[in-house]
Symmetry: C2
Subunit: 113 residues, 2 copies
DNA sequence: ACGCAGTTTAGCTAATGTGCTAATAAGAAT
DNA sequence: ATTCTTATTAGCACATTAGCTAAACTGCGT
């Protein structure tokens, strides 16, 4: 639960970071997510398991499908806390202000389907 | 350089996260750092190499010793950007305000020498 | 009951990560 | 020159990870 390492280990993989970004403002089914990547559905399923056991996503089952949604607070608490512990607050703040300008989503383009 | 993954992979290990925290407000020699942990000096040296190639620390050689220092901006840019891309800004801000209250340094106590 | 869509689980392989000890390199001191 | 200190590199062992394909599970429609 308070296992920060699970969170940071989950974030170490670019596919998983991209999944979290994709879940930013809507929930998606496992299939929805898999269709956005080139790797196989079972591999995505494993990534989702890792994210879930890190507490970074929740699942909601509806009929056949399983919808995954982001647990923002988990990310904010673990990572935000670490970041603000290590970095002086000004730096964190400055980054926050630049947020909208930078489209950091282009980074993992090669992962896409 | 713009290799976010190197940064996140570096953060996946609790020893490395602790090293970054230890470097928060002072530079430390490799030996200084190693003496704070129970694992061997060569292992710490490897961790420092990982942190350095992720761009998270700089090294300064002085006589026998090598002093490592934190590169705050690297951490703030990569992690802060990701965090504020995925999370709504309020959450990040709230965390920032709570910063001083929570002593997140107790987490990795078992790593210590 | 059967089959289909959506997902996960099993089992495998190749690559990576982390720790150790022993050996090496480089500088300072005697 | 030899030795001490500081730190890294080499080589090994073990565990974990990420990918794949094939098989199994679940809920719905026919």
């Amino acid at each position: 639960m308070a296992d920060d390492t699970g969170v940071f280990r989950a974030l170490a993989d670019p596919t998983r970071r991209q999944i979290l970004q994709d879940l930013r403002d809507r929930e998606l089914s496992a299939g929805d997510i898999a269709s956005r990547f080139t790797i196989s559905a079972p591999s995505i399923s494993r990534h989702l398991t890792v994210l879930k056991s890190a507490g970074l996503v929740n699942e909601r089952r509806e009929a056949n499908r399983i919808f995954y949604s982001l647990v923002e607070e988990r990310l904010a608490v673990c990572v935000g806390q670490f970041l603000s512990t290590v970095c002086p607050e000004q730096v964190v703040l400055r980054q926050r202000r630049k947020r909208r300008a930078t489209s950091q989503s282009a980074e993992n383009e090669e992962l896409r389907a």
